[in-house]
Amino acid sequence: MTTRNIEVDLMARVEGEGALEVVVDKGEVKDVRLKIFEAPRFFEAFLKGRHYSEVPDIVARICGICPVAYQMSSVHAIESAFGMEVSETVRKLRRLLYCGEWIESHSLHVYMLHAPDFLGLDSGLELARSEPEILRRGLRLKKVGDRILTVLGGRAVHPVSVCIGGFTRLPQTNELRSLLDELHWAREAAKETLAWVAGFEMPDLSPGYTFAALSGNVYPMNEGAITVSRDGTAHDMSCASDGFEGHFKERQAPYSTAMQCLLDEKPYLVGPMARLNLNAASLRPVVREALAEAGVELPLVNPYHAIIARSAEVLQAVDEAIELIEDYEGLGTGPGEPYRPVTPKESVGTAVTEAPRGMLYHRYALDADGRVVEANIVPPTSQNQARMEADLWQMIPSILSLSDEALAAACERVIRCYDPCISCATHFLRLKRVAA
């Protein structure tokens, strides 16, 4: 038989539902298709006509793992449309909220979804059985992130305090300080996590990525310019969020319900590795030291190293969260004004923030009453989808001697490096019927 069809009908340990189809003919890879067939979400259409104040709570429901990212990109885009700036207190608390989301999302992926690949285990459940104390460390780290979201956002999933102009309520100093003991434990646990994953044996694969991430004076979450690098260090292009659609173009893959986004017609990489490489200068000292101790050098160019980048960002977020909380009293505002008044106007606003999985772009056109006329959301998994396929095109020829089952498992491992959030990536183009 000269033709092999490798199909993975339902990929394990990725968020949402997707499938992979690889066609190999006479020893040559003929097709690689990452199919996303979760029901299209139509969120952008659902937002039309909604009042700006409803948007953060609606978009938070696109994703149960990264609701903060959707809230952050939406509030920044709408505040930009209305020409608003938030207070320094709000800016810092939004960073703290994002720290919470990165900690919980990354910890979940590192321990429950990704580490088993490097340990010869089938699942996080097997890790629970074979290394219960290690998994407990990961689950406790995740809980630290959840606690930040609960204190700041009212609850761990889909926080409810984020609003245009700030928060509906600011936390008291003692509420935030109640997190510190656990955060100090988390800093040590995050160092241990980084050392643990850096010791994993990883296959060699260097696809030659083009990296894209926000970059600026601070490690990017809610701020920074969109920056592109072709070697992981030099900044080859940068633009503000309103330049996103000029450079990054979405297209519909006929076999998938998700859009694919390309940069100059080519795949590119967003996410923790891109962020880490493009923002090495703004890493916190504790992260630099931990990376050096683990023998990790930047830039990271191998997709399997994403687990190292994710673990480094857990440490980055924990360390920054401690500083933000310790400084909170020093902001001199007490709880202060939770949000600034909003004056809607007919306008268009854009924003990019860094979701755990990478850049998340939002654009809103609003009418004079502040109702949504048009919305466009480009999640990170849409941006990484073509990149995942490109990695497989490159890797598969070197592993064709494997059995179908082993080859399929190897492909799944590559895809899991991206922590794809397939639910977020699904949305359809609007269909326009033209009468003959």
């Binding site: 429901r61 629970a128 407990r136």
Partner: protein
């Protein structure tokens, strides 16, 4: 007596998938004050860790099995673990996953119960269908009965609720 926790799961913007959330919100006024009632989008590790042997956790969730919409199901831990259930939520790790991990880590999850309602549609949009609305009072009653049984058995020291 152990604690009783009721957790309604679902998505308010996904049609009938909101049934667990709606039930939880109504149950806050119906259940005794010492019963912890939560309404959330996804199950989480926190729901199942740190429980004592007498604690009871009741999840309320949407079910998509092909049965008549409005049909009410009752599952226990044994039904959930190893059942090969697909994620019940639109995102995140499912209840089967967390229950399996909790059991493997030696957590006290034996008194876990799921009351589920067959739904007609989980398409994006507000509001639930007529069959789900019509069956909601029975679902609330079933939860109240389950809570009363758990409290009664806890008080009498029988310690078996599943």
């Amino acid at each position: 007596m152990g604690r009783v926790r009721v957790i309604g799961l679902g998505n308010m913007l996904a049609g009938d998938d909101a049934v667990g959330l709606i039930a939880a919100r109504q149950l806050r006024d119906l259940l005794p004050a010492d019963v912890e009632v939560q309404a959330r989008e996804v199950p989480d590790w926190d729901d199942l860790q740190g429980l004592s042997g007498d604690d009871v956790v009741i999840f309320i969730d949407a079910v998509d099995s092909g049965a008549m919409p409005g049909t009410i199901f009752e599952f226990n831990l044994g039904d959930v673990i190893g059942a090969g259930l697909r994620h019940c939520s639109s995102h995140g790790l499912g209840l089967e996953h967390w229950a399996s991990v909790a059991e493997a880590l030696g957590e006290h999850v034996s008194h876990l119960m799921i009351l589920g309602m067959e739904i007609a549609s989980a398409e994006l949009g507000d509001g639930v269908s007529e069959p789900v609305t019509a069956a909601l009072p029975e679902l609330l009653q079933r939860v109240e009965q389950a809570v009363a049984k758990a409290r009664d058995e806890g008080l009498n020291g029988k310690g078996s609720h599943a």
